[in-house]
Amino acid sequence: MRKLPSLQDFKDRNVAEGSSYYNIDGEAYPETGWAQFKQVVTRTFRLELFVGLWVVLREMFKFNIHTVQYPAEKLPIGPRYRAVHEMQRLWESGTERCIGCGLCEKICISDCIRMDTKIDENSRKAVTEYTINLGRCIFCGYCAEVCPELAIVHGGRYENVSEQRAHYIGFEDMLTPLDMAISGKVAEYPGFGAVTPHEDERVKVTPLAY
């Protein structure tokens, strides 16, 4: 058995003889007509199909099934996976994080985000309507990356099935439910668009006269 290569070895792109790269074992492709005929005959009569069927049968009777029972069971996905968007709320107050700056709308390369804004009764910018057309969205993640407020993020909901296109997708559907936000059930978002852990070290200190 060969020694498994380390990560360092993989970074070495030298594929010449003697490097940690090697060709996997495999039969050479048949080159002559006779050799091709021989391959067909052996494959046909070796009953390879039953090898596979036997594996399935064996595992079935072991009652030790590794298959994920989707859709009843779902695997957790990585925090930086880019599925259907979510709109976040602030932890403390439950206020919507979105300030209506329009950067997601601007940066969207498939032009599927639109928002309407107005001035609200507190003289703040308020988003009156916000839509993402998931039929067009390519889940590139630019919107989440550009968002200065970590308001729009990619969630983990990767199933996009609905009876109507209209369900793709309104602001209300994406917004974290208020009760969840206030009860503190939502963790600070670690996923795509979140600040990286070392951000503090890169900030230059601004003097304050207070």
Partner: protein, 829 residues
């Protein structure tokens, strides 16, 4: 002004003697950072970032004048340090709310911060509470304000409202430590910045001005924004459509900023109007009355068929001058083809006035334009309510006062506080209506070379002069010799003794003297102020560029022919150059393109005006037409320039061109007619698509083309009739005008213009009559009467009021004979 050569950063640059270094650099695409400077306004010296080194000395490029052979370098180590420090200072306490700021990236603070590479902050000062406030149509957020004072400068030097000023901020002073450590200019700039914010000159919490919105337009950050626009859109979302404003004859270059209306409605909507504020200043109508398009129009085939029927039946087309040159040309072609009578009383009056004028002047059009007025230093305005007839003419008037140390005379029966407050060198002569001839005769009398003037006129002018002996009290100094006793030391004896000494002394003494003075009866006729002659002497010192602006009061005057001839004589025999203010948007174009008729026939088609069959861009007519912001075409401005305009929002209905095609003309697009406009009137055979519409870096106007000067055969007869001194409206006068921001039904239609049609009068008049805002009055003249509402106008100060014309539901024009003044009785209902 002579051409000179200076060297900027090793490049030889041609410019004029006395031009600011900054402007010379900009004209030649050399970048010098500058925040507070506005072209056409005086340097403010607030930002100090335009520091350059000229002949080894640090100067501010915005106020240092170029001299022959000057060597300028735009960047040295010290200057770089200053600039970086200045930008750091601007960023002190500036909120990081760029995400919601309405400047949305079109921000000079952002740009220069990045340009100077500011990546850290060295300065700080404790901030004070600076709450934002709504000043009516403008919203001010002092937190975002960098106090560059551009708003203050433009309001004073260009607009003439003086509505804004800097007020104390009430903050802590900058620490000594920082003062020591920072560059000198940066500190000086910060020290001033830290002490002030922008406030209202008149106090209170609402702007009381002519609402042009230029302050918000010039604001480099998002401190001043239009209240209506706030938070509705980001700047980058807009499609910018270069166009020409369709409200008055100034023909300002504007850009319609459009975007889809909302998520549910993908139709384009105009969100705001922007302008190249360095080179053109808009009025409130241009900036805010943009949504006058004819909405939701579809092709109504029945109405179209009816229109064709009506055209076949009609013998007259009535129209207003709020149409493009191409449409005017279509109407003229229809006249030629089918013999319609073209009726447009206001353009006809202007056309007749021009014809009469050209018989003496020998040119089809007046000689000067508003650009000349901006550059002049002595302006006279006769026969126009300047601020509402043509706001740009008013800006030119004010700009010449502030920038060229100019002086001006404003002849009008309605005293205008806006004009009067432009400065001490403005004299307002409130003459009685119908005395406009006296004003023009006075101009001839004061400025014409009497030797050259036709002798009949010179004699006529002399007949107004008489000599009069008056007693003048004068103070003279007289020499008096007094004998004074003094103590003096006798040099021989050394004893002090009293000596009598003769001393002479100058003593002021009052004497009365009989002086013979010249009395000019024209001044009395015009109700000129008593010190007119003394003031004129001061006004005329060091003046060399004279402009006369005449307005719509003259065109419909009963003696308009005479007035036109007087204008021509003034232009010919005095140093004055002449500008006429066309009555409506394209009155000049219409008067050049159409042959207009006096009397209507039996069945008429009306285009935006009442008739038997109405084509209307306002909606509600028998057939819908596109408004000016929905069509391509050209408009002829007061500056004799044919400006292209574009469609900002969509229109799906029929156009005049469709009707014309059905009636036997043939053109695919209305703008196909652009190259066919009459060459004999100075138009050029240029394709619409080849007409530019922008300004260059040095301010050169690249918009459409200028009308060629067309020579007209002169009759040789330069006589003018004497005027009738008795024909004058002495009391109960009524004027026909509009409040600022209103011109026509189109401005009235816009959602931001909330002015009501009615009887407008100043405070003094209303108090004397016991009337108040909102009262209903019956206005009666010899032609009829109407009932309307009283509105208090802050911007007039006269013994009379005016009826508005902008809303055609108020049939105000029917009460007048054509001339804009009449006698009327006004009674409370």
């Amino acid at each position: 002004m002579s051409d000179i050569t200076i060297t900027i950063d090793g490049r030889e640059v041609q410019t004029q003697e006395g031009e600011f270094i900054l402007n010379a650099a900009r004209a030649n695409d050399i970048f010098i950072p500058a925040i507070c400077y506005l072209t056409r306004c005086s340097p403010t010296l607030a930002c100090r970032i335009c520091l350059v080194e000229a002949d080894g000395k640090q100067v501010y490029a915005c106020n240092a004048k170029a001299k022959e052979g000057m060597v300028v370098s735009t960047s040295t180590e010290n200057i770089e340090q200053e600039r970086r420090a200045i930008m750091e200072v601007y960023d002190v306490n500036h909120p990081l709310q760029c995400g919601v700021c309405d400047q949305s990236g079109e921000c000079e603070l952002q740009n220069y911060t990045l340009e100077m590479g500011v990546d850290s902050q060295s300065y700080s000062v404790r901030d004070v509470a600076r709450p934002s406030s709504d000043w009516g149509h403008i919203h001010y957020d002092p937190g975002l304000c960098i106090v560059c004072e551009r708003c203050v400068t433009v309001c004073k030097d260009m607009i003439g409202d003086n509505a804004l000023k800097t007020v104390p901020r009430g903050s802590e002073s900058i620490s000594e430590e920082q003062k020591e450590s920072m560059p000198k200019d940066a500190y000086a700039m910060w020290n001033k910045l830290n002490k002030s914010v922008i406030g209202l000159t008149a106090g209170g919490d609402m702007l009381d001005c002519t609402s042009c919105g230029e302050c918000a337009s010039v604001c480099p950050v998002g401190a001043l924004v239009d209240t209506d626009y706030m938070y509705t859109s980001n700047a980058w979302e807009h499609k910018q459509i270069p166009a020409t404003c369709g409200h008055c004859s100034a023909g300002c270059q504007i850009s319609y900023d459009t975007k889809h209306e909302s998520i549910d409605n993908p139709e384009d909507k105009i969100y705001r109007v922007m302008n190249e504020w360095n080179y053109v200043s808009l009025c409130g109508a241009g900036r805010y009355a943009y949504d006058y398009e004819n909405k939701a129009v579809k092709k109504d085939e029945v109405a179209f068929a009816n229109a064709i029927e009506a055209f076949k039946k009609a013998d007259t087309i009535k129209f207003t001058s709020t149409i493009t040159n191409e449409e005017a040309y279509i109407l003229q072609s229809l006249k030629e083809k089918r013999g319609y009578k073209l009726i447009n009383p206001e353009a006809k009056a202007f056309q007749d006035f021009l014809r009469e004028y050209s018989q003496i002047s020998g040119t089809a059009l007046y000689g000067a334009d508003l650009k000349k007025a901006h550059a002049s230093n002595f302006i006279v305005s006769v026969g126009s309510a300047l601020k509402s007839d043509n706001p740009n003419a008013r800006y030119a008037f004010n700009n010449s006062m502030t920038m060229n140390k100019g002086a001006g005379l404003y002849f009008h029966p309605l005293a205008d506080p806006v004009i009067e407050q432009m400065g001490k060198s403005v004299m307002s002569i409130t003459h009685a209506p119908l005395q406009e001839e006296a004003a023009l005769y006075l101009m001839l009398d004061l400025f014409a070379d009497k030797e050259k003037l036709p002798s009949a006129i010179a004699d006529y002018l002399a007949s107004f002069h008489s000599s009069k002996t008056i007693t003048v009290e004068e103070t003279i100094k007289e020499k008096v010799i007094e004998i004074v006793k003094e103590m003096k030391r006798n040099e021989e004896t050394g004893v002090e003794e009293e000596v009598e000494v003769e001393k002479s002394k100058m003593v002021p003494k009052q004497v009365s003297k009989e002086v013979e003075v010249d009395e000019n009866r024209l001044l009395a006729l015009l109700n000129a102020p008593g010190d007119f002659e003394e003031k004129m002497e001061k006004f005329l010192a060091k003046k060399d560029a004279f402009v006369l602006m005449v307005g719509p009061d003259l065109y419909t005057h009963p003696a308009s022919a005479n007035l036109a001839r007087l204008c021509a004589l003034i232009e010919k025999y005095t140093a004055f150059e002449l500008v006429m203010i066309p009555t409506l948007t394209n009155t000049l174009g219409v008067s050049q393109i159409c042959e207009l008729d006096e009397n209507a026939g039996s069945y008429s088609i009306g285009y935006n005006t009442e008739a038997d069959f109405v084509l209307s861009a306002l909606g509600g007519g028998d057939l819908d037409m596109p408004a000016i912001n929905q069509q391509e075409g050209t408009l002829t401005s007061i500056n004799k320039r044919v400006n292209p305009t574009n469609a900002a929002v969509g229109y799906k209905g029929y156009e005049l061109n469709d009707l014309a095609n059905a009636l036997g003309l043939n053109a695919e697009l209305t703008v196909d007619y652009t190259k066919q406009l009459p060459l004999s009137k100075g138009f050029k055979a240029e394709e619409f698509d080849s007409l530019p519409n922008h300004y260059e870096n040095d301010g050169t106007e690249k918009r459409g083309y200028l009308l060629d000067t067309v020579a007209v055969a002169v009759s040789g007869d330069e006589s003018v009739a004497a005027f009738d001194e008795t024909m004058v409206i002495t009391e109960n006068a009524l004027y026909l005008a509009n409040p600022v921001r209103q011109f026509s039904d189109f401005t009235a239609k816009a959602h931001q213009s909330k002015e009501k049609a009615g009887f407008y009068a100043g405070k003094r008049y209303l108090e004397s009559k016991g009337l108040g805002e909102g009262d209903r009055v019956r206005v009666t003249t010899h032609k009829g009467s109407l009932e309307t509402e009283v509105v208090h106008d802050h911007f007039i100060d006269a013994e009379m009021g005016y009826l508005t014309t902008f809303d055609s539901n108020l049939k105000s024009e029917a009460l007048f004979d054509g001339y804009r003044f009449t006698t009327a009785s006004i009674e409370r209902v």
